[in-house]
Each structure stands twice: as C-alpha cells, then as structure tokens.
Amino acid sequence: MAGSFTIAEKELRDQMGSTRFIAIFALMVLLSVLAAYQGVDYIKNNTEASFVHIFSGTQMSFSFIQIMVMFGPILGMAFGFDAINKERTTGTLSMLLGQPIYRDSVINGKFIAGASSLATLGIGTIAITTGLAIPMLGYGPSLAEASKILTLAVLTVLYLVFWLSLGTLFSVVAKKTSTSILFSIATWMFFSILLSILATAIVNVMVPLDADLFIMPSGDSERSGPGRFQMTDEFREVMTQRTELTNLIMKISPTDLYQDTASAILGTAQGFMRGAMEFDRTLSLGEALMNNWANITVLAVGLVVCFAASYMLFLRMEIRPGD
C-alpha cells in the first residue's frame, strides 16, 4: 500500500491545487448557498418545515439534492475520466509502472485521491451551506437534524464516488481522454435526460392512458370541479401502475436512487405523482434508511462493480510502446 499512498498523495496535491477543483468547488458552494437561501426563505414561511429543508427545498425550488442529481455525475466523473488514459497519452504510465511498485497501487492511489477530493467537495459544500444557514435562520439543527445532515453527507459522497468509479472505468477502457469525456457526457445525458424520456415512452406503450378513463362513471368517483377532468377508480389504478412502472425503470438510474434516498433522509416522502415532494409524512432517519437500504446497496454495489472492472482491466492492460 506504500505505493498507493505515495501516488494518492501526489494526485491529491495535483487535484486540490488544480483550477478544475477550485472552479468546481466554488460553483458547487455558490449553487448550494443559493439553494439554501431559498430553503431558508421557505423554512421561515412554513412552520412545519425543519432545518434540513435548506438541502431539500420545496417542490418548486432549486435544492442541494437537485444540484447533486443534475451535476453529481459530471462532478464525480470529472475526477476520474482521465485517471489512467492521461498517463498513457502523456507517456508517463511506463515511467510510473517502471518503478518497483505493484501495478494496482496506481489505480488504488488515483481512486483514493479522487474519492478524497470528492469527499472534501461534498462534505465541504454541506458544511459551508449549514454554516451559512445558521445565522440566516437564527438557530442551528437539532441533534436529529444534524444526524440527518451527516447521513446526507455520507450518502452524497457515496453517490459522487460511484460516478468517480464509473469515470475511472472509462479512463481505463478508452485510450484517449477525449473518448472518455464523450463516454462521461453520454452517460450523464442518458441518466439525466434520456432515461426519463425513455421511461415515459415505455410506460405509454405498456400502460396506455386512454381518454375513456377520464369519463366519470355514475356514482363512485370524485369531481375536481366543473369542466375539469374527473378521476375514476380505473384512472387511479392506471396512474398507480404507470407510476410504479416509471419508478421501476428509473431505479436503474443512480441519480434516481440518490434523489429518493436523500429525500427520504431529509424527511420528505414521495407523493402520489413522481417527483412531487410533500411534507405530509416526515420519516425518521432510521425509517428512511430502512426504506431505502436497497437504493444505498445498489449504489454501493455499482461503485464496487465499476471499480473492480477498472481494477481488473488495468491489471491486464497491455503496456504498449508510447504509453
């Protein structure tokens, strides 16, 4: 492990001092503080809201969780997409591997450094946001709320490191950094934009929403108001099926797993329609973790699988002239 830590130390120094890290960190803090400001405003106007809503915000506002859902993949992959192939393209890989170190020290060291940078970034952002929210609200989080914030920080780091391991995998698979950037952007677009479109399309085919469903049958349905759609029981059932199928498809998205789990930890439960956050039922930290252990496990397993694949491929990688 001595080689791993030497490499990690060097990589960490490079990353922390890089313009890339400073710019990303500054952007993250700025966005999170803006989101927290909205959250603080919301908390002040809603007596039911608690301190942790500086991170979850409301249905309509921009929150820390949404920032992570949107930019987390890019953030995580940014620290890993060139971990190995940059060494190849600059010709330093053969020099590095020419030292009396085990080959896995290189990938371990780089991963440790990337994870440490992301942990600094994730935890740092949460800490700064919390620190700024306290004077704005005039009070701090309770012990239970502090535990939730701490758990959110751990979950956020896990989520970011998952993307780091995927980025690292791209850096091993792709010989050029330009190719791994494209892989990373394509992955980000798939999970952030395309998957929800794909899920809607699949749901529309498998559970179509017929116009007949809006017609109120005699007696047993609700009326939302004159001239409005009427929800029949059949409509409710179809909508439930559609929501469940959408949820199932979206479960392949790490961003979705993170969003669901983070929302649950912060005490907001999902409402009837996907994405609509309601404050009607606040979960305790234990409940949230119990309800979402599968999400956390999938994220952790995904992380391990991606890193294991990178590890194996790197150990078997043929060092060619020019590497």
């Binding site: 060097k10 010709g91 053969s94 020419g98 060092i319 060619r320």
Partner: protein
C-alpha cells in the same frame, strides 16, 4: 567470463497473428552499452517493456540482474530503469518534485532522496534547474532530466528507448556523452534502442539488430567488418600504378587470400588479417607502386541494410 545482466531465451511477444518479438535470444554483459537496432516497429520497445516487466511475454523467459521478469518483476524494476521514447515526467511539477516523487516510489527516505536528487542533477548538468517546471524545458533538457530520473533509484541497468530522437546536433552530442558517462563513470549497464545508426556506432560496445521481431545479428562493434566479409575475413583496397595478370595470379596464390576483385580502379583483396604483408611484398616484387592501401570499413548503415534486406528476402 562476463556476467550477463540481461539474458533472454526464446522471448516472444505475439499480438494475435503478429509477432512483435519472435524467439529472441540475447545477452547483455555487465557494464557495456548494448545497442538494440531496428527499424520502426521492429520490436525494440516491446522487448524493453518486457524486460522491465511491464509487458508479459507470450512465451520464453528472461532475466534482468538475475531476476525473472515475470515472477520477480518488482525486483527487476528495483534494479532497472527505463527512459521511454519521449522522456515523460509530469509537466506541472518541477524537476525537484518529479525526482522526489520517483524517490518516494522507490521507498527512499527524505534525506537520501534529497541527496540523490542533487547528485543525479549534477551528473546531467541540470543542477541550476531544480525548481523549474518540466514543461518549460527544451527537448534536450527534458532528456537530461529524464536520464537523471532513471538514475534516482541507483539502478544496475538502464534501458534508454531512442534517447536522441528529435534532438538537435548539440543535444545529441550531450546525450551521447551522458550515455558514455553512465557506463564509464557510473558503472552502469546501458541498453539503448535506436534506429539512428551513426549514434549507435559511436556509443555502443555491442549491437543487436532486430527486424520483424527477430534478432538477425549480435556482434561487437570491432567485429562488424568481419560480419560483412565473412567470419574471419577482411577486405583491403589497394590503388596501384599498374596491375598485371601475373600480379593478380600471384596474389591469389598467397595463403589466406580468398578472392581478388578489380573495380572502379581499386584492387580489392579478401582474406585473413595476416595476408597484408605478403600482398604488399608481392606487389613490390612485380614492380608496382602502392598509391593507396586501406582496409575496408563498413558503415553500420551498410551492415544494417544487408541484414534488413536479407530478412525481407
């Protein structure tokens, strides 16, 4: 008997159907500069990468410094250094930081690292550039720092891959002197790959010519001329004021003379080393005057082309 620092037996590297290195048998002796020659893509760098334990051979074995390159690759890398084709250290780091990093990877204590950095930079003449960033250096300076980096670990053997490639004449000369210095003053064994034949000719003690993965020649620089004319033969060119049929006949009769040729006004005699005096006497006895007498020395280019073409045929 000289100790072999590098010893390969039927070393082979295959990519699909393509043999990058094919049944390579090669030895490199201690404290010699071995030139590994070949055209681009001949398998030179692949061989070096295998010898450093960075690329796994498809078959065959090799030892470097007595260590097996597969089973003991880490030990190999503790006594062997490589300078890749384009010396590459980290551009964003200074000379000191780059060398310090390599020292750390070699488990050297801080004080030892710092002393060693000053020593190796002194050797390559880059002591004044300790705090300059690697990316700010010219190609020649990068090569010099690169050579310093190979010496950080106090190696027994250094593999230099095309060390003078892309350098201007002054830079080439400086690196050449450095390579000779590695052998003569630092006591290292050097294996350098190159396709610049003139470079190898003035630097190396022995050469190996590799073409299409096969070693087609291994020879000391002194014996290269014999390689062209036959195992023990040499060629001497004479320019005489007159050549008579009897003279030719008498020279052909001298013991040790294999062949006599006349072309372009030159009278060339192929034979063993001890025939020169007898040939000279015979010429004088026949009343001819020797205007020029010159043992034929083949250039490495000629030798290389001979073997290169043989392989192609």
């Amino acid at each position: 008997m000289q100790e072999h620092v590098v010893n390969t037996e039927a070393l082979t590297k295959q990519y699909g159907d393509f043999f990058a290195v094919n049944n390579l048998d090669m030895e490199v002796e201690q404290n010699e500069i071995f030139g590994f020659l070949g055209p681009n893509g001949a398998g030179k760098t692949t061989t070096v990468l295998m010898l450093m334990g960075l690329s796994i051979p498809t078959s065959g074995t090799a030892k470097v410094g007595g260590y097996d390159i597969i089973e003991e690759s880490r030990e190999v890398r503790s006594i062997a250094s490589i300078l890749p084709e384009y010396s590459s250290l980290y551009g964003n780091l200074t000379t000191f930081e780059n060398l310090d990093y390599l020292g750390q990877l070699n488990d050297m204590p801080r004080e030892e690292r710092e002393n060693r950095i000053h020593e190796v930079l002194e050797i390559v003449g880059m002591s004044d550039w300790l705090d300059a960033k690697y990316e700010s250096f010219s190609r020649g300076m990068k090569q010099r720092v690169g050579i310093a980096s190979t010496m950080m670990k106090n190696p027994k053997i250094v593999f230099l891959d095309e060390p003078t490639l892309g350098l201007d004449p002054v830079g080439t000369l400086e690196i050449r002197e450095l390579i000779l210095d590695l052998k003569n003053r630092q006591g290292l064994t050097v294996v350098m790959t190159s396709h610049i034949l003139s470079e190898v000719q003035v630097t190396c003690d022995r050469i190996g010519i590799i073409n299409r993965g096969k070693l087609v020649l291994k020879e000391t620089m002194e014996n290269l001329n014999h390689v062209m004319t036959g195992a023990e033969d040499r060629r001497v060119d004479f320019k005489l004021n007159k050549v008579t049929p009897d003279l030719v006949k008498d020279i052909e009769a001298i013991e040790g003379v294999k062949e006599v040729k006349q072309e372009n006004g030159l009278f060339s005699v192929y034979g063993t080393d001890d025939t020169d005096i007898h040939i000279s006497q015979t010429i004088v006895e026949h009343g001819s005057t020797i205007l020029l007498m010159k043992p034929r020395e083949y250039t490495l280019e000629e030798i290389f082309m001979k073997y290169y073409q043989q392989e192609d045929d």
